[in-house]
């Protein structure tokens, strides 16, 4: 029965700053808005597409996707209504496309409309999306929480440069989802009420939702697990034993969804000596005196005991991995497993054989080059714990590291003037997490291509942070772009993954899950790593 279960209280310790995911691509905004505005289709907890506003998922088989892979045609569910009671039409989708691709609009989700050459209305409820090039994987525009459909009527004056000025629309978009924004306090709290025009008259069970923000992960967890003030808390990056202790109160538990996040260590193949100045960490600087040696790279990976790192920092929220591409299942390679078990002897031997001799201070060296590195990461207690553990492990193979942590907003900020960004990589070693949206890894895997190496020439932009460059790899990626069949794509992707792992382009550490705290009184939560965690909030209800 709609609206019988009272208030649902959700806490996002990073607060929601706007309800328009096109203006702020942050995960929290995307999740928050996913309760209000919906895409045509989204991924379920297993990573499969489920229709939302669309009647069904178009495929080549059912004719929804053109045989030349250059267009896809969506059919809307019948009688769809916006929360203000007006009907949803194909024009809204067209408008959404225009909205996000308008110049000067600064649309954060423009990538989802990349390659879309046209969106047109075949009829009032049929949308045809055409692509400039054949798209083997056409489910990007209007799919997933990042590219929902917004109401043309509401946003019609907000195109392009005007987009940020439509504050009331951005804070309270009219949607088709189970809830409607009642009051929005940016970076603080959002209150929702059930959408009276929601397509399923029995849903949502909750009459209202309070989405509170602010604070830190541990206290958010506490408010669900220990004090029971809240029902759901997102992104519980807290030491596992702390969560375990909180769970003893019996008010809730931690649910984890595994997506594509991998905590990894980057080893810089280029020299980073400060005396090199601006050339640091670029090809011009020349190879790194130690880290360009494959033996060193491999030894570093071998020396890490991923189980300990997992246990100390992640618990149930992480799994040791040797793969850069950890999910979805069909893409997961099982070929690389040499790094899963710590092998100090093998690592020592590798180094010994490569000529890195143990010095009197317990640090290996060769030709006057010491295995002594600067190891940076963003500030975060779990990462600092991992740093400490890794430092300890590497000390056992005669490698010493100096630790450094950098404020996340600097590290990930990409300010070309700052020496501390992860793109610049003015350190020997760095650690962070990366992942990809959705379920298709093509774009992600393309990030290791030679031309994606950040450098002053491209303003330090580029996804190839590890500065991996292998022509063979590049060719394979291009092949993936042309392959349409899922099995084949998977095979190529696995191969790419194995190449990266075996070349130790990067040291994958942990396949990280997304832990959330869920109250014991809440029913229907299905953790989803492929879409918004609140994707099925319409189905949530209070346990009777």
């Amino acid at each position: 029965e709609r609206g019988t279960d009272g208030d649902l209280k959700i806490i996002f310790w990073q607060a929601v700053s706007t309800m328009n995911p096109y203006l702020s691509g942050g995960t929290k905004e995307v999740y928050g808005s996913s309760m209000v505005i919906e895409p045509l289709a989204r991924y379920d907890e297993t990573g499969n597409l489920v229709p939302m506003l669309a009647a069904e998922i178009p495929t080549v088989e059912n004719g929804g996707v053109a045989a030349d892979l250059k267009s896809i045609t969506w059919k809307l569910k019948p009688d769809l209504k916006w929360s203000d009671g007006t009907p949803v039409t194909a024009d809204d989708a067209i408008f959404t496309w225009k909205y996000c691709t308008a110049p000067d609009g600064g649309c954060a989700q423009a990538a989802y409309y990349e390659g879309v050459s046209n969106v047109e209305a075949v009829d009032a409820s049929t949308i045809k999306v055409s692509f400039a090039e054949p798209k083997p994987y056409p489910y990007s525009a209007f799919v997933g929480a990042q590219s929902p459909i917004i109401q043309a009527a509401q946003f019609k004056d907000c195109l392009g440069i005007k987009a940020p000025e439509c504050t009331s629309a951005n804070f309270g978009p009219i949607g088709t989802g189970p809830f409607v924004v009642k009051e929005f306090k940016p970076n603080d709290v959002v209150t929702f009420v059930a959408n009276p025009n929601y397509r399923d008259p029995a849903k949502p069970a909750f009459a209202s939702v309070t989405l509170k923000g602010g604070g830190d992960a541990a206290s958010a967890a506490r408010s669900v697990l220990e004090t029971g003030e809240f029902d759901y808390a997102w992104n519980m990056q807290v030491e596992p034993e702390v969560l375990a202790a909180m769970m003893q109160a019996g008010k809730g538990k931690i649910e984890v969804a595994f997506g594509t996040q991998v905590e990894r260590i980057d080893l810089n193949p280029y020299a980073v000596d400060p005396s090199l100045g601006d050339k640091r960490s670029t090809k011009e600087a020349g190879p790194h005196p130690a880290l360009s040696d494959p033996a060193v790279r491999k030894a570093l990976s071998l020396a890490i005991d991923r189980d300990i790192i997992d246990e100390a920092g992640y618990g149930d929220n992480g799994k040791p991995t040797c793969n850069i591409l950890p999910a979805p299942d069909i893409y997961v390679s099982t070929a690389v497993d040499w790094c899963l078990k710590q092998d100090l002897d093998a690592a020592n031997k590798l180094l010994e054989d490569a000529g890195w001799k143990m010095g009197p201070d317990g640090i290996r060296e060769k030709d006057g080059v010491k295995l002594s590195f600067l190891y940076q990461t963003s500030t975060n207690s779990v990462r600092q714990g991992t740093q400490a553990l890794v430092k300890d492990m590497w000390a056992q193979i005669g490698v010493s590291v100096e630790l450094r942590n950098i404020s996340a907003n600097v590290f990930f900020g990409g300010d070309p003037a700052s020496p501390d960004t992860f793109q610049k990589f003015y350190a020997d070693i760095q650690m962070y997490t990366n992942n990809f949206d959705g379920t298709d890894p093509e774009k992600y895997m393309a990030g290791w291509m030679c031309d994606k190496i950040p450098s002053p020439a491209n303003g330090w932009q580029g996804e190839n942070i590890v500065r991996y460059c292998n022509p063979e790899y590049d060719t394979l990626v291009k092949e993936l772009g042309k392959t349409g069949k899922l099995e084949d794509r998977a095979a190529i992707a696995k191969k790419l993954n194995d190449m990266l792992s075996n070349d130790v382009a990067q040291i994958p550490l942990i396949h990280r899950g997304q832990p959330s705290a869920v109250s014991a009184t809440l029913e229907g939560v299905k953790m989803n790593a492929w879409d918004s965690e609140l994707w099925n909030v319409a189905d949530w209800s209070r346990k009777k």
Binding site: N187, F412, S418, N435
Partner: protein, 336 residues
């Protein structure tokens, strides 16, 4: 005194302009980036577009001038329009927009003000109200049990950071005893007795944490300053007149001791408006402090700039007030 005040107020204008420029330059120089909390999956081209849409790609000086115009011309005009209902010009003008929320910064501040004033302001008020008697008694009964305990509590209260006391209080009072909520509800509006009780309850913990800190700090200054004056000859004169001991302390000695106290308080009042960052975070009061810190972390330049500027204005104002008070408190201090 009046001319002094007037001159200082006039002098404050260039001061504030200079301060605003320096703040702007500083923020610009700082290596943090407004796009840092976007997922890494957003490709570089898109980032560039976002940056351009925010105007962050403009040269520094243009951005500064634009902010000046928006803050000093457009915003006041806007307030004027809202108050009078008149429209000046076309009524179309760019307000200071936050990068993160894409909404007018002034509205954000107005929205945050109530909870900050309630929690931080009240705890400051409590702090002052408690600190003065504690400081006075501590000094009057120097080395008594009261003084020793007061010293102990205030030193511990000051030296143990709020990020710890906050968590401790939550664990005790929210988790175990379940007396008070650990999360502040900013939507709560007082309409009846029960909502009033709820409001009081949710304020108890954050206000306690902050009051402890404020009281500790101010009472130390009160005590030290009182000790300096307690043994002066004029105190003897006052006693010789048969003035009540309370009056001797609170009127004769305290007023002579007020200069450092006024300074500390005047320094503290603007910080009410800058919020109490850590405490607000812990209890999710989400006031101005939290606004500022999220803005800084998100490199939301217009918001940080505006908030800091308002803060700077308050600092200048309250330091001026302190200076005027000096003159009133001690006639020997003259400004001319």
């Amino acid at each position: 005194m009046f001319t002094f005040t007037l001159r200082r107020l006039l002098f404050a204008i260039p001061t504030l302009l200079a301060i605003s420029f320096i703040i702007f330059a500083l923020l610009d120089l700082a290596p943090s980036d407004p796009l840092s909390d976007l997922p890494l999956t957003i490709p570089p081209e898109v980032r560039e577009q976002i940056r351009a849409a925010m105007g962050a790609d403009q040269p520094f000086i243009i951005r500064y001038l634009r902010w000046l115009q928006q803050f000093f011309v457009n915003e006041p005009l806007n307030i004027f329009e809202q108050m009078t209902g008149l429209t000046v010009g076309t009524g179309e003008r760019m307000r200071v927009l936050s990068w993160a929320t894409r909404s007018p910064v002034v509205d954000l501040i107005v929205q945050r003000l109530p909870q900050t004033l309630w929690v931080v302001g009240l705890s400051y008020l409590f702090g002052v109200l408690l600190a003065i008697p504690i400081g006075v008694i501590s000094a009057y009964k120097q080395y008594s049990i009261f003084d020793q305990i007061g010293t102990f509590i205030s030193m511990v209260g000051y030296s143990v950071p709020t990020f710890f006391t906050g968590v401790l209080l939550i664990v005790i009072f929210s988790s175990y005893l379940q007396w008070f909520p650990s999360i502040y509800d900013t939507n709560l509006s007082i309409t009846d007795w029960s909502s009033f009780v709820a409001q009081v309850k949710q304020m108890v913990l954050p206000v306690t944490v902050l009051t402890l800190y404020n009281t500790s700090q101010i009472s130390r200054f009160v005590r030290a300053s009182m000790l300096d004056n307690l043994h002066q000859d004029y105190v003897r004169t006052a006693r010789a007149k048969g003035v009540k001991e309370k009056v001797v302390l609170l009127v004769h000695v305290l007023r002579n001791s007020l200069i450092p106290v006024v300074t500390v308080i005047a320094l503290g009042v603007p910080t009410i408006f800058s919020g109490a960052i850590i405490t607000e975070q812990i209890f999710r009061v989400n006031g101005l402090g939290q606004l500022l810190i999220t803005a800084i972390q998100g490199a939301d330049m217009p918001l940080v700039q505006t908030l800091t500027f308002i803060f700077a204005f308050l600092i200048v104002l309250f330091n001026l007030i302190a200076d005027v008070l000096y003159g009133l408190l001690d006639p020997r201090i003259r400004y001319d």
